[in-house]
Amino acid sequence: MEPDKKRLIIIGIVAFIGVVLLVAAVMFGVTTFVTLITGVDGPPQMLVVEVVGEEGLQNASVIRLTDRDLQQHPVLATAIREAGSNPNVPASTPVPMTGAECLALTESFGVYTANAPILEYDGVYYATRVLIH
């Protein structure tokens, strides 16, 4: 009788641990899947940066970017690095960003506004576009 009771307790503990691990694995999988598909805070958005010549400035507003600006906005830094890396390909490939990053870039540099300003960094001028999928 005594060994049966012990066996039942052990089986119960193992079953409990199994259920906990199963639930954790399922939740982890679902969370990761949802995050991969939607991003943490909304549908995927992309930033595209394109080098423009001084003739393209016309009457546009120009914002001069500092190194600190690029440190604080890594998406913009990535796009600018890419657009400036090859003179034959003046536009960056679309760089994915979250809704929060898009909001921060819009409030800081007007990237997602009508008549978005031109950004200048290290003597090169850049136009920006936001793509929403």
């Binding site: 639930v23 990761t32 604080q72 800081s108 007007g110």
Partner: protein, 114 residues
Amino acid sequence: MLAGALTLYAHESSGEQPMLYVMEQTTPGENVVVPLTEQDFEQHPALDAVIRGKERNPSAWEWGDRSQRVIGGTNVSYAESRALQDAYGPGRETWVYPHLEYEGAYYLVVTAWP
């Protein structure tokens, strides 16, 4: 809870880091106003650095919604990002952000996970 811890661990191991952004608002509107204290800054050094430290880098008011601007941003760990959202993020039921008040200015805390 375990799933949350595992998710956090997986993100921390990815080598990337979330960004903390702090937005300043001209007025609090009808949102709940929470005064920031020295204890808040001690518990969240990243918030301290952005609002009154070396990561303060305010943008102009003239872009986007002109009633707000970005005060600055910095990298934080995933755990810190979650702690900031739990403390200063939108309410679970209302999804409305509280406004944080410090020296007469109103702030919102936003975090971006890569």
